[in-house]
Subunit: 299 residues, 2 copies
Amino acid sequence: MAEGLLTADSARSLVDSVDAFLLDCDGVIWKGDELIDGVSETLELLRKLGKKLVFVTNNSRKSRRQYSKKFKSLGLEVTEEEIFTSSFAAAMFLKLNSFPPEKKVYVVGEDGILDELKLAGFECFGGPEDGKKNIMLEANFYFDHDKSVGAVIVGLDQHFNYYKMQYASLCIRENPGCLFIATNRDPTGHMTAAQEWPGAGTMVAAVSCSVQKEPIVVGKPSSFLMDFLLKSFNLETSRMCMVGDRLDTDILFGQNTGCKTLLVMSGVTTLPELQDASNDIHPDLYTNSLYDLVQLLQQ
Amino acid sequence: MAEGLLTADSARSLVDSVDAFLLDCDGVIWKGDELIDGVSETLELLRKLGKKLVFVTNNSRKSRRQYSKKFKSLGLEVTEEEIFTSSFAAAMFLKLNSFPPEKKVYVVGEDGILDELKLAGFECFGGPEDGKKNIMLEANFYFDHDKSVGAVIVGLDQHFNYYKMQYASLCIRENPGCLFIATNRDPTGHMTAAQEWPGAGTMVAAVSCSVQKEPIVVGKPSSFLMDFLLKSFNLETSRMCMVGDRLDTDILFGQNTGCKTLLVMSGVTTLPELQDASNDIHPDLYTNSLYDLVQLLQQ
């Protein structure tokens, strides 16, 4: 099915047909630490129209609390409860699956994951701390690991190294029943405004290759996060619109969960990529950036 | 087709029907820095029987020269000319494809790759040196890269980090025509005698995910190395036997190039894995270790 360009008519009809907008952050709201033009006005208008706003990001580097601060620093008022990160999703996945309190969690990732796990009451280690540790592959070197680790969570990690790769591999391979959880599999992301960087998908690919096993994905496009959204807000997915810049995470997530979908070109996806014959993920609508909503609705 | 257990009869018939043995190293000759029992006697016997011996390893950490020294340190006389490493294969691939001398090579890997590239006359950088470099993903950080890089080679790298991942990604994505070469895709290997470690496949998986592109593989099971073997030695592949411990590299390499194949269980593959219904790579013969050849031939 071919997607349609957002027009004054389709923008009005979209806004009339949904009660909530689920918004990706990187590439939709900001790029790195720079707010995308017109985002502030768009969010203000949508709130004025009585729409519920939910921010759904695969970026696991920050906790919900840290994200709320980031929104504030960019001049946007967004509460923790409106933010759903893949780091939060990872912690909630363990909670929902009654992860035993005596087990530990090993983290390949950054503070966001550790913070959410601690907030949820889980004992965890790894993260930035293990980014300082080196491996020297020498003769009879034996690398020991904690046998009480019951889950490994892999997310975006700018301090990713061979130490963490082996630690995660040993836990997953040798600890019976150890879960292998990925926050998400985005290959790249706008970690800085200036350019794209390797995403969590690259760390997940490395660990997955080492253990020859596929992870449980809790971020987009997995529908896991939607369960929490539906529990938190009294809404139907058919009356939600997922807005994002990635086809294989945002738009697929929207489609997997029965939402309407709007692709914006302010992030990683270009129009030629969307329209390429090899692409089989088609949003309902597409436009340049979130701000087009305001401009079209005012026509 | 089911494989056969090596017996006195099949060992004799194997030795009679081949002129050369291609031997994998990790898991066949040694584990880490420990010689596997009976290897010395086996190589001696095969040489006495007039068999040509060729050592074919996917491990790119060392150059041929360094491997020759390693053999010597373990009491085995093996010349550089008898050793074919994936680091050497990477350098030869560039040579064979007339890689322009004014272009540079970026290396995600260890000294073996850099050494072989320099020996072949190519300008290269990266490797262990870049293992010390850190990325700080801050606001407007822009990461620059050398536009004259015409090839990225990815191999096993115990100093793998986010810096190298991004450097490699930028070269492959932004330098027109830049080659993306993998020494090999082994998921794991016996980098130390004590246990298995993540292999080059994990670094390749991470970079491949980031650039959303598959690499050219020059090590096993790619048949690329065989071209050099055939040029170096006047032999037919039907009169060669590939001996290895990995199904997806060694045995597949032997089969891809028309050799007879012998799987040894002294490395990563176990008998249950070989016989599992999900495995579709079957060697002609299998046995516990290389030394069985001596014992069976003496019966």
